[in-house]
């Protein structure tokens, strides 16, 4: 099978993901979300490609090394970010629902840093335990 890295991905049929449901991050949900009802993967992007490319190439590491990205790479990040965001929203809602609230406020997003930076996650938990305390960052 040849792969054209320059062509835009078109709609493709995929099989339902049959992996187990035991993980909280729910692989089948992610697959369903990307795939949609007809079993066809959508090739539309939810974020502007130019903005995503700018974020990729203007990061600290990117600026230093002058790194560039293929169009396919920007597309992959775009899709991955959409899935990540979807998951975040659902997890935030779960926490809000636990406290019988319909609104996801900031305090329900405290888990958010855990996936990204362990140090920040610890800071988040500490700052939430001290009400109204401000944290300064260097």
């Amino acid at each position: 099978m040849t792969r054209s890295s320059k062509a835009l991905p078109t709609k493709k049929k995929v099989m339902e993901n049959g992996s187990d449901d035991s993980s909280c991050s729910s692989t089948p949900l992610l697959v369903n979300q990307v795939i949609g009802d007809e079993g066809v993967v959508s090739s539309s992007c939810k974020f502007p490609m130019s903005r995503v490319r700018r974020l990729m190439e203007d990061s600290d590491v990117g600026k230093k090394s002058g790194i560039r990205s293929t169009h396919e790479a920007v597309f992959v990040i775009n899709k991955a970010t959409e899935m990540f965001l979807d998951q975040l929203a659902k997890d935030g809602y779960k926490f809000a629902k636990r406290e019988c609230k319909k609104t996801i406020s900031y305090k329900y997003m405290y888990f958010v840093p855990e996936k990204l930076k362990a140090g920040d996650a610890l800071n988040a938990l500490t700052s939430l335990e001290q009400p109204q305390s401000s944290t300064s960052y260097d």
């Binding site: 890295s5 692989t27 939810k46 974020l55 560039r68 992959v76 965001l85 935030g92 609104t103």
Partner: protein
């Protein structure tokens, strides 16, 4: 550095969430897109506070940098100047985002 509100996502910014200006918003993905995707993921009666939207906006922008940074280092060590889709999938695997690679592989077939 100025005081930040208890926002764990803000590493180096000295602005509090409620005082965002247009310039700082340019370094993030558009909040309208973020908001739309969140609303789509939630039940109709769910509401999202402005603060939560802004936190998520920073978070997803950080996600882009995070994954890209790892892929960028890989390319650098292999003396390549351009990141491709496979580099990003490798990066996601390495950073514990493996579930995301499964649907994404469809695009690289």
């Amino acid at each position: 550095m100025g005081l930040a509100t208890n926002n764990p996502m803000v590493g180096s910014s000295s602005n509090s969430n409620s005082k965002r200006d247009a310039a700082s918003n340019d370094q993030f993905l558009p909040i309208a897109n973020v908001s739309r995707i969140m609303k789509r993921a939630l039940p109709v009666n769910a509401k999202i506070s402005k603060e939560a939207k802004e936190t998520i906006q920073e978070c997803v922008s950080e996600f882009v940098s995070f994954i890209t940074g790892e892929a960028s280092e890989k390319c650098h060590s292999e003396k390549r100047k351009t990141i491709n889709g496979d580099d990003l999938l490798w990066s996601m695997n390495r950073l514990d985002f493996d579930p995301y690679t499964i649907p994404l592989k469809v695009y690289l077939v």
